[in-house]
């Protein structure tokens, strides 16, 4: 198993200063830029420690929000490409459907791959609903734009003999020939996220690494859809390395201390949905059928415990979150057992995207969390043989 240390780089000092919205319309007057600088340096320091401890690293971006100060993944990737030595650096993700210029994306990511000496994992995402009022990208049809940007970036990274032409529905170029080209050929590994079974099957056909967040003990159907798509194309089951899962992790030698850390890390989930209500579901973000069901009050819960109890991940207790496989929390043995149990349920899950810091967790607690995990949990997870479940497409 690979473990990626992740923090959203929050500006948590603002978390108690909002009037119902931490995103999009929270005035930036609230940010003290000097303190923001201190926090960025702290988070980079923690990633450097994670690199030394044997973690990989995951970065992301959100916009106009106190939940995540990183407004462009490229800055964090650039810093880490130079400063870290061993870690693979995953961006999950780059919201390419929002970007005006995928040529620029291809150039940036190739350069980062070169500077990092081939350590980039390249995650492309649709973006959460709240990004649309910020970027002003039309949420209607954004996945068509996403896939054209994806196709373009792949072609730009893997074409080497002469400039090529691109005249698509969304993007137009006449002399595409990026310098430098990426180290990893034909291109850095592609990752993406989904919560949708049809999309999961498509990702399986493509063989990309598929990550889910907050899906807990409702993850297996998504993975099985991926497996069906993968096996239909290749005739064999995907390895555990094709799956990734974002889990919150709070570990300590003392269970009570671990729970205290868990409570602070759960602050990520409790803050992430604090956003002006109309920004939560822009038109076209969900399908017509899902929106029609929502109008009729028929929205299905998203997260479940192992025994099928629905859990609201934004409001659930630490125990609820542990039961739902959203938070792995306890002593090193307990955390190890929870993760193995979850991966077994998944039929194999080879990339833990570990949120080892969130919100008000201090630097000292974060470092302790990382150290204990690296020394007492990670080696056992790396040795453990993942199951490889098979699913044949119907």
């Amino acid at each position: 198993m690979q473990v990626y240390q992740f923090t959203e780089q929050p500006y948590y000092p603002a978390w108690n200063e909002h009037k119902g919205s931490l995103r999009v319309n929270l005035p930036n007057r609230i940010v003290d830029p000097k303190l923001a600088g201190d926090l960025f340096h702290r988070y980079y320091d923690e990633w450097m420690i994670a690199d030394d401890l044997g973690f990989n690293i995951m970065v992301n971006e959100h916009h106009q929000t106190a939940t995540c100060m990183a407004s462009t993944v490229i800055v964090g990737l650039s810093v880490l490409a130079r400063e870290t030595k061993k870690a693979r650096i995953l961006v999950l993700g780059y919201p390419i459907g929002h970007r005006p210029d995928p040529l620029r994306c291809a150039e940036e990511l190739s350069t980062i791959d070169v500077v990092s000496r081939g350590r980039l994992d390249m995650g492309f995402i649709k973006g959460v609903p709240y990004e649309f009022p910020a970027s002003n990208q039309n949420p209607v049809g954004v996945m068509d734009r996403f896939w054209e940007a994806h196709d373009f970036i792949i072609k730009a990274m893997s074409s080497h003999d002469e400039p090529f032409n691109w005249e698509g529905d969304y993007f137009h170029y006449r002399q595409v020939n990026i310098w430098p080209r990426p180290v990893q050929q034909p291109h850095p590994p592609i990752w993406t996220t989904t919560g949708n079974r049809a999309q999961a099957k498509l990702l399986g056909e493509k063989g990309y690494v598929m990550a889910t967040l907050g899906s807990g003990y409702a993850t297996r159907p998504l993975y099985d859809s991926y497996r069906a798509g993968y096996m239909a194309k290749r005739g064999r089951a995907p390895g555990a390395d094709r799956f990734a899962y974002l889990g919150l992790v709070a570990v300590a030698h003392d269970e009570a201390e671990a729970r205290r850390r868990g409570e602070l890390i759960a602050g990520y989930l409790r803050s992430s949905a604090i956003v002006h209500v109309p920004f939560r579901n822009p038109p076209g973000f969900l399908t017509v059928d899902d929106n029609a069901k929502m109008l009729r009050g028929m929205s299905a819960p998203r997260s479940f415990t192992k025994d099928g109890r629905p859990v609201n991940m934004h409001h659930g207790s630490v125990q609820d979150l542990i039961d739902a496989g959203i938070l792995f929390c306890g002593t090193p043995d307990q955390v190890h057992d929870q993760i193995v149990d979850f991966c077994t349920y998944c039929g194999g899950m080879g990339n833990l995207l570990m949120m080892g810091h969130a919100g008000f967790l201090t630097h000292e607690d974060t470092v302790s969390n990382l150290e204990i995990f690296a020394k007492e949990v990670m080696p056992r997870l790396k040795e453990w043989n993942q199951p490889v479940a098979e699913v044949v497409a119907a």
Binding site: P139, V140, H276, P283, N291, L295
Partner: protein, 271 residues
Amino acid sequence: MSADAVTSLVVNGATIEAIERGQGRPILFLHPGIGIEANAPVLTELARGGRLLAPSHPGFGTSSLPKGMTTVDDLSYFYLDVLEQLDLRDVLVVGIGLGAWIAAEIAVKDSSRLSQLVMANAIGVKVGDRETRDIVDIWSLMPDELNALAYADPQKGQRDYKNLPEVESIAAARNREATARFCWSPYMHNPKLKNRLHRIRIPTLFLWGTADRILSEKYGRAYCAMIAGARFETIENAGHFPHIEQPEEFARRTLAFASAAAPEAPRAKRA
């Protein structure tokens, strides 16, 4: 729309639903972003003045959405195809909100089949400076907040979504998505339209529900001034959807304008 009142048209590969009612000169009714209900009283009132055709725009209601149709420009060309296919002439075009924008986009391209234009609480142009939002950002509002701004009587905007039949909730979801498809950015307008409005030479009436707080009356009057000879009339006790809040008054004003403007003079002049 309920099925019994609705016909189906296939135009240029798209299948659209349309309410057809009444006899006489053709009246093309272009609905706003919220769509149109077959039992809307305004349709009965308007059908007293002619043969009313009230389609759901491509992507709205149950009407299909041809691939690549992404702008109001595309919708206007689609309706030019409709007019041609049905060979409609001497058409009174009545649009509200988004429908009025479509009407203007049709008329600037080709008004040879049109005789009058009625534009109610119309969107479609940019009036203020770049830092002044002419039109309230409807996608940053809660449904109750939106109704409070859109209607003179916000109760008129309430729908019991939880108990809607599935087909109607799907239509409501499609209407919301389609409105964003065509209106998201540039927000509710076409920057090119202003410089094309001089091409509208048929009699044009702006009807304006005065309680509209999504669009100001000032916006409406500035828009009206861009079309030579266009009249501006207000409707009291109505907001952004005067055809819903004051259907009889809306139809009375529309038909009165159409018959007053009917003399042959304007058309003879054009020929």
